[in-house]
Symmetry: D3
Subunit: 240 residues, 6 copies
């Protein structure tokens, strides 16, 4: 048992829906150890939700501004709390401390818990992006499916049937894909995680918790992004 | 032999160095058929060159604004003339006509010409991104190497040793990687292509020409990005 | 806009059914730019259609004879218009100009238009070969299926139900495979392409057009098969 | 910030060298949060070190006995502290709480910190096993090399040149492999981690710390091995 | 035609059910050439059947004791007759002659006979292990499925419906997976092979026969496990 | 021990150099069991050696004629004795009994003997083809290199330095590639196998022996090419 390490983690919700930021903050704080301080923020501008490559491109800029601000504010590490991990590699160039996306954290975490996982995401149009990430992170072989519940991100907290829709899609994944683990494919689902796990009887992974505990572990181990090569600070240059 | 089809292609240099835009325009125009009109532009704001994930994230937004403008202006197709193909998938959501990146076009074109290609890029820190693209486009198995000449993008047109440096790196690729094709890893190298090909004795691919002729072929065949699913126009939403 | 480049492309139908050669010629000619001359031929001997590895082996020899003749006749490039791409690598050794197969061209072209494509081929027994090619060309990850309509090649132009059978298989691919692009798996289907695209509402790729425009682009860019190594002219040798 | 969660983790050194168990205990304890209790043990029988497939097979049985004992003792989770991750999947069937191996934890952790990692292991004969694990965990694409220092496991703590040998191999990896992260390929190297990181200037990952913090995070998130299917408790059966 | 080579092969059933050992012996003997002597044995201790990673770990030790005894007894080669190939790599370190597992032999043999094979195994919980082996042996691309009949290993010889259950699962594989070859996923099914092949009309591979003939061929060719590196005899060491 | 099974295997040397056919015959006969009759033949027409895709395409036709003749002559199985495995899949459609190529047999056999193999082939221009086969057969992950000795096929039996050249290349493979097994990349090297193995101290695989013993084993097990689907006899059709 070690002394409590004081640590500050900034969790960035790359969209601008503040109620979702609050949900994310609650999930992140519930998962950390004593002595770890979590702040959750949204960019000052950008789309209300991220459901396309276009949304991701626009949201990445606001997210990067929050990383830059965080470097001044003195954070030890960062979480990008959108399942597309928008701007993740760029954020690693900018931040001194570690940066973890919720897609990479949840999909890698699944590898410790079972043979294969299915992601339950919001809209079908995001499935391709999630597969791209699964390949990029080396987990495509363990990914038994990516299924959508067809609930837009901003409806997750308004639609009274959201929980049952997500649960039904997860049950299909267990029955049809052979999955033994479920990964939640949107930060806005994090408040449903415990209930889903209880109902489904298999591990259900909330990427917000997975990424925040991962950043915490990296900071505690003294590990930061390598600045040898690709992730060195970006070269200064003129902007028109 | 067909009638000359009137066609307008917009070639977007995602950085804001106008002299490079001019070089790109010349390369694109030299490769198209009669009746094909090519315009080359730069975003009104953004970095002068793209040499990091951070630069790519910032440049993608300006590039997307040019696509949106292009839709009003009435273009038939688009080229993204930066070897990182920044914002490519987002652009496909926004444009009605086809959009082709110079990395995908040049790396796929190499498959018609030899067993394996090596990319000659600018800075070593971009090598990882180029490998990611090679995997995404399915050509990693044919990619015998990605080598950097360590000349920053904006120096390509100023540094008198640029040509010999690039040629020397390409010759190393032929000798050490077993490559039989060279792919130029930066739009700013396109004016060196013919001379390199003559000196090296192997095919040298300029992505600007490869992408522009590819867009031209797609338009002539009546092929556009599929709007069934992932690349449908992005959902309208509130922006803060 | 460039001056019209005079260019001669030889499109080789490796089977000996002349009515199919005529269909192929029409498709190839409809896709090229002004100034591009297309000739379509069949070998003087060989099988009437190619539906097995055995047929491919026999047809490859006749196809190679046409390449050899083409070198004397002065062609700038060649298309092999059979979806098995028979003898493609051998042809590259023999020809000075570029040689493109319709399977490689159509499957690579699909990558510019959507997330995933399904091939609609003739007989189920050719599905394995098409998968082998998808792997060889690096596009297996984007190939959502290869489905057969069970119409023999020579029946494509005789069977009045051919169009509806192919369309129905394509619709199954859209519904079941998640494909957003259709690739026609036989040169004999090229005359159905426009109608299918109109009916299906997704891009439909005719390999004959894709390969012919690709050869045209390569010639215009001054690109030929690399003769460094594997594709150098074959060593002269005694034949018994 | 959450209340301190009481948690007991059993770290199993699968070999029977007790001095190494003490080193492992120190590393594990240094990385956990307040309230986490770590015990480190060795099997009562088995080989003094694990440097072959044969050693692994024998050591796995003793390791499993420690898991079985741990289930009676009431542990919340387990670490297998040998870089071959011997018996990992079997342990997951037996334990209720999560089980993490140091190879999987360190190689997955590397993915958060850089483009590519090289493993520095003990003997060359273990390199093949480490590659097998890299493939199994999906990280082979990020693994830029597995290099051996040719120091037997039991010599790591006796050989006064061990540190410099390991450091020199790591420096070769940085220079030749393009690695930007180093992974220590033996639990017996964990006490060298901080010094190596300081000397090399890149992140150096000790699997003992990585695995222990990973178990801690899983327990805190309420995540256990899925018992749906493959990792359900093994069927009871007769033993001769 | 060569002179009959005297050769002794030891076939090890890693479980301790002697009736299954007898079945295995019969299958192995039926497949070898004149002059080849086959002995089949079980370990003196271990589980009665192998249906989990835990069973495999325990059985591997007894199997290795039989290899060690075999080295004294003077065998020329060994077969490990359990579809999980437990302890295979360790056995290669210990034996001078070749060692072949029935999973690797049957899955590689399938490659000579058709496009794709489906494995029919016993319990669903072993499917993951079989996929791991398919990947390890490079045959995952040819594996069209791994299906379980849900008959425990020890019931194969007692359950009167075993044959029809296995046949029905195999027929499903032919109909649904597109398999053209069936691989039996348990040594205890080897006596059903000929009948299944007759009923199904496709090749059915018994791993016991495939592995035994493979060892025989290796011995006849004078080929043994390479002792250069990984499979050299394991280092001697203290055991507690 | 079984009764001697009478069996006739036809080994086809696809080139027309009869002295090489004699070498192949000797190697094949030396590896089979009593009762197995081996005949080795060459096509009546075709190239004297196979060193290009072009040679392969021409030689495949003559090889297929020998398969067709063999079906009349009553052979139980066939070997294609050229390392490019020309026409292998076509031959499987035509023959009732099994057909095995020497590349597939030797590369799969290597998997039983070590971690990785390097192929020593004749000319560098055949290296690409050998890699394609390694991928097709699923063994690319185990292939540590394909190296050429730059001796043309017909010179293997004339050039007095051939043996030392091949041995030197193999020694480089052991030193540089980490190979622990050598595969001979030309049927014309089969008479050098035993001497090389003695000199190198690692297993050296002659594909002629590996393929012939594989056919023998398949015939003894009653296994033939599946005629369900792809490898059914080719459809009869008109030839011009």
């Amino acid at each position: 048992m070690t002394e409590a390490l004081q640590m500050k983690i900034k969790v960035i919700n790359p969209n601008t829906t503040l109620s979702m930021t609050a949900t994310i903050a609650a999930s992140a704080r519930a998962s950390v150890a004593p002595g770890t301080c979590v702040e959750a923020v949204s960019p000052t501008s950008g789309p209300e939700s991220i459901e396309s490559h276009y949304d991701e491109a626009l949201a990445a800029v606001g997210m990067l501004r929050e990383i830059e601000a965080g470097e001044v504010e003195g954070y030890d590490g960062y979480v990008i709390a959108c399942f597309g991990d928008p701007g993740l590699l760029a954020a690693r160039e900018v931040a001194r401390g570690p940066v973890v996306g919720i897609a990479e954290a949840s999909m890698r975490t699944a590898g410790y818990l079972g043979r294969s996982f299915t992601v339950v995401t919001t809209l079908a149009r995001t499935v391709g992006r999630a597969w791209d990430l699964a390949h990029e992170y080396g987990v495509a072989g363990a990914c038994s499916g990516i299924r959508s519940c067809e609930i837009p991100v901003v409806e997750l907290e308004r639609d009274p049937t959201a929980y049952t829709s997500i649960r039904d899609v997860a049950q299909e994944a267990l029955a049809c894909d052979g999955a033994d683990v479920i990964v939640l494919g949107c930060a806005g689902m994090s408040d449903l995680c415990a209930r889903l796990q209880a109902d489904l009887g298999v591990p259900v992974i909330d990427g917000v918790a997975a990424a925040t505990t991962q950043v915490e572990a990296l900071v505690r181990m003294g590990l930061r992004t390598s600045i040898r090569g690709e992730f060195a600070p970006p070269p200064a240059k003129l902007h028109r």
